[in-house]
Amino acid sequence: MDKFTINLLPGEVLLQEKDRAKRSFLLKISVAFLLVVIMIAAATFLLRVTQKQQLEAANQSLDAAKAKVQSYNNQESLLTYLKQRLDNIQSLQGQESKPVQSYYLMQALLPPGVSVSAFALDKGNRIIISAQSNDVTSVKQFFDNLTDPTTNQKKITKVNIDSLSRSGDGSFRMDLTITTT
C-alpha cells in the first residue's frame, strides 16, 4: 500500500534549506581545492629544497674532482710542456733551408765544364753566382739548364746575366743573378 507524504513546511523554508546545502557544498569544495593547491605548492617547495641539496652535493663533488686534478699539476705541466715542444720541433723539422736548397739546385744544373768561383744569396734570396768555363758548349749548356723548366724543375723564374766576358786565353767569365721560386 502506497504511503502518502505531505510536506507541511512552507515553501520559503524549503528553499532556504536547499540554498544552505548548496552554500555548504560550495564552501567545502572551495576549501578542498585551496588545500590541494597549498599542498602542491608545499610539495614543489620541498622538491626544490631537496634539489638544492643535490646541487650542493654536485658542486662539492666537482670541487673534489678539481682538487684531485690539481694534485696532478706536476704531471699535467710535464705533459703540456712536452707536447708543446714536440709540436714546435715537428714544425721546425719541416723547415727547409732556402740557401741550401738553392746551393743544391745550382750544383744539379752546373755542367762539368763550368766551375763556380762565388756563390751567394742576397736579401731577397736570389742567387748571385760567378762562374767560369773554358768551353763555350758548357756555357751554352749551363744557360739551357737555367732556362729550361723541365731541367730546373720550374724552380727558376728569372735569370739575369749581369756580365759575360771572354778573356784572352779563351775562358768565359759570367756573373748571374738567378731568381728562384
Binding site: 605548492a41 666537482l62 674532482a65 684531485k68 696532478y72 744569396l121
Partner: protein
C-alpha cells in the same frame, strides 16, 4: 540603488567562497608553483652539467695519475736538448764545433746576433703555427773543401739541436778550398707561463708525437755531438749580449 546592490550581493554571495578560493589558488600557482617547477627543470640541467664536468675531471685525473713522471722527465730532457729552453750559447757553440770537426772544416770566425720570435726568414716551412719559439743568429766564416762544406750543410740539417742555414756565401779560396760565410739560426723556446686551465681536456701524446719522440731519442743517442743531456750546472749568463 542600495537595495539593488544588496539584492545583487545576495544573489551572487553563493559564488563568494569559490571565487576567493580560485583567486588565492591562482596567486599561489603563479607566485610559487610555476616558478618552482620552472626552476626545478633549470636546476636539473645544472646538476647534469656539473655531473658531466665532474666525470670529465675524474677521467682527466685518472689519465694524469697514469703518467710516469720519471719517464716524461727523461723525455723532456731529450726534447730540451733538441730545442733548448734559452739561448744556450755554449751548447750551440759545442754543436757547431763538433759538426765542423766532423765535416773537416776550419772555423775562421764566429759571431752571434739576437734573432726574433717565431720562424726565421730564409727557410720554407710546411707548418708556421709555432708557439713561444725564438731564435738567434750565428754567423760562421769557414774554410775547407767543397765536399766538406756540403757535408757540414747536411749535418746541420740533421743535428740534434735544431739549427737551420739562412744565409750562404761561398767563394773560391786558395789551393782548391772554398771560403764560406754561413748564417745559421738556432732555435729555443722558453718555459711555458701558465699551465692550462684545470678543466681543459687533457690531450695526450699523439702517435705522430710518440714517433717523433722515439726518433729524437735515437738521434740524440747516436749523435756524435755532445749535446749535453747530462746537464752541467749553469754558470754565468746564457747570452752575454743581453
Amino acid at each position: 540603488m542600495n537595495d539593488k546592490i544588496i539584492e545583487l550581493a545576495k544573489k551572487y554571495s553563493l559564488y563568494g567562497w569559490p571565487l576567493i578560493s580560485i583567486l588565492i589558488s591562482v596567486i599561489i600557482a603563479f607566485s610559487v608553483i610555476f616558478p618552482q617547477i620552472f626552476k626545478y627543470f633549470q636546476t636539473q640541467k645544472d646538476i647534469a652539467a656539473l655531473d658531466q664536468r665532474r666525470q670529465a675531471l675524474e677521467t682527466k685525473a685518472s689519465s694524469l695519475a697514469a703518467i710516469n713522471t720519471e719517464n716524461y722527465q727523461a723525455n723532456l730532457e731529450i726534447v730540451k736538448t733538441v730545442l733548448p729552453e734559452s739561448e744556450d750559447l755554449p751548447a750551440s757553440i759545442g754543436q757547431i764545433e763538433a759538426l765542423l770537426s766532423q765535416a773537416n772544416l776550419e772555423l775562421q770566425d764566429i759571431n752571434f746576433a739576437s734573432g726574433q720570435s717565431g720562424l726565421a726568414a730564409g727557410v720554407t716551412a710546411t707548418n708556421k703555427n709555432v708557439v713561444g719559439l725564438q731564435n738567434f743568429q750565428i754567423k760562421l766564416d769557414v774554410t775547407g773543401s767543397r765536399s766538406a762544406l756540403q757535408a757540414f750543410m747536411q749535418d746541420v740539417q740533421d743535428a740534434p739541436q735544431v739549427m737551420r742555414i739562412t744565409g750562404l756565401d761561398i767563394s773560391n779560396g786558395t789551393s782548391g778550398n772554398v771560403s764560406a760565410t754561413l748564417t745559421l739560426v738556432s732555435y729555443y723556446e722558453g718555459p711555458p707561463g701558465n699551465i692550462s686551465n684545470v678543466e681543459q681536456p687533457l690531450a695526450g701524446l699523439t702517435a705522430a708525437e710518440n714517433d717523433l719522440l722515439s726518433k729524437l731519442q735515437q738521434q740524440v743517442a747516436t749523435s756524435p755531438v755532445n749535446t749535453g743531456v747530462t746537464v752541467l750546472p749553469k754558470r754565468g749568463k746564457d747570452n752575454p749580449f743581453q
